[in-house]
Subunit: 261 residues, 4 copies
């Protein structure tokens, strides 16, 4: 008996992206010799031919489950290595031309505070995607990092600036084989703010940070340009997108700047 | 034939709150002679006796629909007047001992900017609830207002402060009959920040605002105490709860202060 | 004295989208002779030349404020008419090449229930954008509508289906002058589900609706194709995008189908 | 020199809860011999005396950092053991009478599918809190679990039911020493739905699940009562709160039932 999914649809239109979203499953990765544990939010989709009613959703889940298990046992994959393996496994179970998998997670980086040199754990948002089109693979990495902006305009007109939290988002898209480090991406964003921020700050650290902020006033436009500039220099040949949102302390609304390089 | 809801449940435990949530329906209110239009997010619940399997959900919706229509035609109700009417209508359709209805919406207040005196529309979050227990009615009003904090500690230790957006939440619970103005509640919150914020600010306004901020450094604890103090003075005899959250510009996390008066 | 925004930036990269986001301000529109009140969430952005440090944010707010006031007084604008006016006003205050404004809001449609014919108010999510590029204007309307899917596969294999809430999202992009009704867009989405849903349902309505659902099993792929098909027929020449997400009742995750036509 | 925090406040009101929220830091726990990795969202608060202007926020962070490090090195703590240690460490650094720490995270449980017996990883939401009041400790555990409801009313009136995803939330509060397993709590919720849900389901599993659902129609009130009943039997003497929200497939809104036992 034919599966319902393999029947002919009433409306014969091909679809670009069909699959599963908001799936959470635990994974372990190894990057530069160190283990990381995530429970990412996953979206996986493939294209659907105009002559088929539906895709077989459970095969997407099986491809994820098996690839995660394999990579975890072998203990040497990055997030993108696991994702590529999922797409390859899936290709054996379910024909498709274009497939894509994204994982969004928290990513922890260890730092020293600026003055007292204490160790702190800093948590950023990441999203890593691998896209397969026939035999070609690309990947797209995104980091979302918190920092701040000190307004250059009020610094000049009022002699004293308004200051606020800002969120920087940097996206780098390249061939799959290209090495792109999430930690380097985080650095590109952090360097673009008036100052980076820290989870732990003793009084001397707070003083050092505030001084750095006041010495370095930045519009949200400056933050976005800074990210683009830093990422272009580090990730040559990649498609780069940057967005900064400043959660204004003098307004209810936010200001935003987006660009590409 | 008996409705399924009126049958005896497998587990004989009474429930405090059973009903409908995330319902959106348009309402019109009149307050001090002026019309307001909202599409609030509504939650309405009643208690359920241990001997009944379920409540009749559609009667809750009908009570809302009818009360909204009546008040809108008569054009003179506040949000709490509409809510009281819903609970009263419901009592005729569906027996209950304790019932509660909440509406969450955007609330617009018109202001003048501090220096150029331009008119601006400022939008705050509100939630208005009416509770009926037998023949007694109480109400609970909440406003959520955006402002800022200028850190007094860094002002002293670094000579220059970090500044950030903060969110103040003030809740006032009283007998139903007691007059409580949402606009007065917004004022209690705004006065407690280092400065209020505005949607529109020309350069002279921004200058005036930044000066006000620097003259008025506040911890998040000061903001909460300020709200409690202002609300106690204005709404005597009411139960008051205040919470301030400061979206720190030097940290990834927020700081919080909550209290009651 | 030169404004800081007009100075030369450290990094000379042009930016595509700079502006204000998460701004809430009340508007009134008139569509087919009837008034609608919204407090939309607004994003407005313009491009920034590589030789200028920043844009003048307050001019964006002023353009919104003035256009809203004018249209409200004249009482005959749609959302897109207000948005076009904002972009035109802005062009006089602040030079730009490409500008875009989006408003997201709740949109209420009145319906009759399927059997008892009661009147109900149904609230949908909408987003309306106008883009100006030089002298050319385009617009993009999106509706987000709740419905359901009855699984055709389990209907066949188990004789009984699993059923769940689904969310359909339809986007139509056209020249500014093209007439596109939000209500027609809502209909395209509702017709694509196993059945539409209602705020109020009496027992006879619920029965009619359940029968309609079971007679009309749909994969999420069918819903997306149905939206594309209906929208293509109604909005000829437009760029159409559809997305359906089914909040599976047998899984923790959602399933998704996206396509264009 | 006196710290600003230790000065006298302008308004002399004591505050119940002052501290840090939305802090994310990685932790490792050991429960029944197995390691778990989380990056929880943390809130930690203490009370503030009416005569002090503020608390020393950085000491809260230090208490977390040190306790996490210690427990991780010793590799034998549950989440609540880490939390108790944080509160104890904090008491040495910063005097307080009442303190509370909460961690919210994803929690993974492994299951077998109902028919094909495949292994699946199921991810639930949890929140674990420890409260210290003088020398007394209490704890409060919450799980948020996805399942479904099959409507008993439409089953009777229409012969065919509407079905939808539902979310169950179970909270258990006890003395700190009392053993309460998160996995047992998840079971209490899952047993209360029309059926549990799974990440992976092959056709035979889906069939088995749909049959279980149809054999077991449940109102949202039944789900809440089921949770209360199951939790009372398992966690005697504890304070129990349950809430179920059904994401109706025939309505735009949700239905809700809450109770205590």
């Amino acid at each position: 008996m034919k599966d319902t999914q393999d029947e002919s649809p009433d409306v014969r239109i091909g679809l670009e992206r069909v699959g599963v979203t908001n799936l959470k499953t635990p994974i372990r990765t190894v990057w530069r010799g160190r283990s990381y544990y995530f429970t990412p939010n996953i979206e996986i989709t493939i294209d659907l031919d105009r002559r088929r009613k539906g895709i077989h959703m459970s095969r997407l889940i099986e491809a994820i489950t098996e690839a995660v298990e394999e990579e975890t046992l072998k203990s040497r994959g990055s997030i993108e290595a696991i994702e590529k393996r999922v797409l390859d496994r899936l290709a054996k179970r379910h024909p498709y031309r274009r497939g894509e998998i994204r994982m969004a997670a928290d990513f922890v980086v260890y730092r020293r505070t600026p003055s007292s040199r204490r160790k702190t754990a800093e948590t950023h948002g990441i999203e890593v995607a691998v896209m397969r089109d026939g035999r070609k693979y690309r990947k797209r990495l995104k980091v979302t990092v918190i920092g701040n902006t000190v307004c250059p305009h009020s610094m000049v007109t009022a002699g004293r600036p308004h200051i606020q939290r800002a969120v920087g988002e940097l996206t780098v898209e390249t061939d799959y084989a290209r090495m792109v480090g999430l930690e380097e991406m985080v650095e590109c964003v952090e360097e673009s703010f008036s100052s980076p921020v820290y989870t732990l700050l003793k009084t001397s650290d707070e003083k050092a940070l505030v001084e750095m902020m006041f010495d370095n006033p930045r519009f949200v436009e400056d933050v976005t340009r800074g990210m683009l500039d830093a990422a272009k220099a580090r990730f040559r040949g990649a498609r780069i997108r940057a967005k900064a949102v400043s959660q204004e302390s003098i307004h209810r609304h936010d200001v935003i700047a987006e660009g590409t390089a």
